[in-house]
């Protein structure tokens, strides 16, 4: 057992970290759309419900949500494995945050876009798909990318309910070898390295989209 | 009291020495040359107006005098102390220079988080070492002089633009400068509010303050200043007594500019 095997043991956790982040983001980015629509609904009751939901999802620490889903729901009512619990928990929190990001992006889209789309008699569906949607995606992209990097780091909480991702591996290696300093430094560095391609990808996509959806 | 020559009383200066001298001053931002060789000389008590089209380098010239923008080339001499381009002066010389030169900005730049009185006192206490009582006494006298003593305890946001600019003038005067620079002081103001500011400036000039005013107010330039400079494309294209320059410009460029403003 030496530093190299320690490192190898930690690297084993990478796939789960990445997959968990991606799935949670996929859930959140998707659910965030109807949640945002509800948040901006003209119906007072619907709007209140969505606002309360978003507020509650964001006010409670992720680990508590994961415990509620895994130990609470997962043990009694449904059988949920640690990974699914983590994915659902982080996914719901992401949905709340993405709803707010979409809301910010929508308010940044020039009011004239809606009027122009209406003047061209586009149906609401086409208005969204062809006019508002693409702009929404482009404007949300920077905030969403920042959020994904945050989500990557939040995925570490899944280690507390037994998901064998990077933080979990780091903990167990450090407990076995007592080389905590190197192990945790390596784990931390790993997270930073993984976040770099996300930042670059976001910038590249932003540039590409800017060319196609120029304001 | 600092013994640096810039803070010395004006009387110590030889009568025939200019208060301010600019020698071959150039200012470049990257590849863009904003000032292309400016020479200037000013006596104590003179009032100089600088006019010209936008982008001619008027504001930059002012900023080179108090080193807000250090010149790329050339020399600035104020009250016997010279600052060469490319050779950064010691900090205390720079601070003394800035205390000897007061500046009034187009956007006033009053400190919004301080009361009017504190705005005028801050530099006195920190840069001149005056006690709070001294500073407040001087401040109240200056505020009375510009007609705004009653605003002392208010915040700038509660004052009109014209009032804010007059307070800015009081703030600059509080340091007892030898030279006052005005960078388009009324351009951001409604004409009526601008009048009250011009009145204060006129009174200042009549009291013997050495002033350089960059302005678009042609009437003010002609009536209050001794000399007028017309700048275009980073150079001085015309210079002379105000009446002569304004009525009878010699250069083509100056003539073109003056005709353009006359027609407005």
């Amino acid at each position: 057992m030496n530093l190299v095997t320690d490192l190898q043991a930690i690297l084993v956790g990478i796939p789960l970290t990445i997959v968990l982040t991606l799935i949670a983001f996929a859930i959140g980015a998707t659910l965030g759309l109807p949640l945002c629509a509800m948040r901006m609904s003209r119906n007072v009751f619907v709007r209140f419900l969505a606002t309360a939901l978003i507020l509650v999802l964001r006010a409670i620490p992720p680990i508590v949500w994961l415990f509620i889903i895994f130990f609470g729901i997962g043990f009694g009512y449904l059988q949920l494995d640690p990974f699914s619990s983590a994915a659902i928990g982080l996914g719901l929190i992401t949905a709340a945050n993405m709803a707010e990001i979409y809301r910010g992006a929508l308010s940044a889209i020039h009011a004239g876009q809606w009027e122009a789309a209406n003047a061209l008699s586009l149906s609401p569906r086409h208005r969204f798909i062809d006019v508002v949607g693409p702009q929404l995606m482009r404007i949300s992209l920077p905030s969403a990318a920042t959020y994904v990097i945050g989500l990557l780091k939040d995925s570490a909480v899944a280690s507390a309910i037994g998901v064998h991702e990077i933080a979990f591996q780091a903990y167990h290696v450090s407990q076995e070898t007592f080389r905590g300093l190197d192990v945790y430094a390596a784990a931390g560095l790993l997270y930073i390295l993984i976040s770099l391609p996300i930042a670059w990808l976001a910038r590249w996509t932003d540039l590409r989209l800017r060319a196609r959806v120029a304001r | 009291m600092p013994t640096n020559s810039l803070a010395a009383p004006v009387a110590d200066q030889r009568a025939d020495q200019p208060l301010l001298r600019l020698d071959a001053v150039h200012k470049r931002f990257g590849h863009h040359e904003v000032l292309s060789g400016v020479d200037l000389s000013m006596q104590t008590g003179e009032v100089l107006a600088i006019i010209g089209p936008s982008g001619s380098g008027k504001s930059t010239l002012l900023r080179c005098i108090n080193q807000l923008e250090p010149p790329t080339e050339g020399r600035v001499t104020l009250a016997g102390v010279t600052i060469e381009a490319g050779r950064p002066p010691p900090r205390k010389d720079l601070l003394a220079l800035r205390r000897a030169v007061g500046m009034v900005f187009q956007s006033f730049n009053l400190f919004p988080h301080l009361t009017v009185l504190r705005n005028v006192c801050l530099a006195q206490e920190r840069a001149m070492g005056r006690s709070r009582q001294e500073a407040e006494a001087v401040a109240m006298k200056l505020l009375t002089r510009v007609g705004l003593a009653d605003k002392a305890q208010q915040y700038p946001s509660r004052c009109s633009g014209g009032q804010q600019q007059r307070i800015a003038i009081a703030r600059a005067l509080a340091l007892e400068p030898q030279l006052m620079l005005f960078d388009e002081p009324t351009s951001a103001l409604d004409p009526e509010l601008g009048l009250e500011v011009l009145a204060v400036m006129r009174e200042l000039a009549e009291g013997g303050m050495t002033m350089i005013v960059v302005t678009h107010e042609m009437h003010f330039a002609e009536s209050v200043s001794n000399r007028v400079l017309i700048m275009a494309d980073g150079k001085i294209v015309e210079e002379g007594p105000s009446a002569t320059v304004m009525r009878n410009p010699q250069s083509e460029r100056a003539r073109r500019f003056l005709n353009a403003v006359k027609d407005r």
Partner: protein
């Protein structure tokens, strides 16, 4: 249903004791982290290369590493280097580092939001660099940063929930113990969630209101 209320009543004091500790850790991390954030905000713009690089490194690690890793590094990692910290100290250290890193960016943005003319005017009236910062730039810049800083403080309170992994007896740790003893995980974690919500939701609303209020009193240009 009554059963659940009775359960909550029985374990409420235990959770509250834990929550008090959560609040204490939050206060400590802000007490050390916010000044650190100011130092780092100025440090990353320093003329000294050494200061700049040190500050940048501290910020990038504090921001780029998950809080959980920072916590476990402080508690499990440092002992290998000869420095053994208690749970509370390790938690304070790690969270203060995280706070300093994130708030340095918030403060930097606040300082940059101060109009450039303010700095020019301060320089023109002969104030030296230190006084320009102290009397003109910081008062205005920090005011701009306050809502974001308060929002971050709320996030730090939530982050203390991770301290149970380093044996700190804060609220989540207490809830977990109760849960594993009684097997009634759902009710106890719901109670924990409600405690956080009871503090964080009003706090979030207050910050939004504050943000809107501060935006109204903009200085006249």
């Amino acid at each position: 249903m009554n059963d659940v209320f009775a359960f909550w009543g029985e374990w409420f004091p235990t959770l509250v004791a834990g929550f008090e500790l959560s609040l204490e850790v939050t206060v400590v991390c802000l007490l050390f982290g916010l000044p650190l954030g100011l130092l780092l905000a100025l440090g990353v713009q320093s003329k000294s290369r050494a200061q700049r690089w040190t500050s940048l490194t501290l910020v990038e690690i504090g921001r780029g590493t998950p809080v959980l890793i920072l916590l476990q590094f402080a508690y499990f990692g440092l002992p290998s280097a000869g420095l053994t910290l208690s749970s509370f100290t390790a938690a304070g250290f790690a969270l203060a580092w995280c706070t300093g890193a994130y708030t340095s960016e918030i403060i930097r943005a606040g300082l940059e939001a101060v109009p450039f003319g303010q700095r020019e005017a301060a320089i023109a009236i002969g104030l030296d660099q230190r006084d320009v910062l102290r009397y003109v730039i910081l008062p205005q810049g920090l005011r701009v940063a306050v809502p974001a800083l308060l929002g971050f403080a709320i996030l730090m309170l939530q982050a203390t929930s991770l301290c149970f992994t380093i044996a700190l007896p804060e609220v989540v740790s207490q809830a977990y113990i109760v849960g594993s003893n009684t097997f009634r995980y759902m009710p106890i974690f719901l109670l924990t969630a409600m405690m956080f919500a009871a503090v964080c939701i009003p706090a979030t609303i207050c910050v939004s209101v504050l943000e809107r209020r501060l935006g109204r009193h903009e200085a006249v240009p």
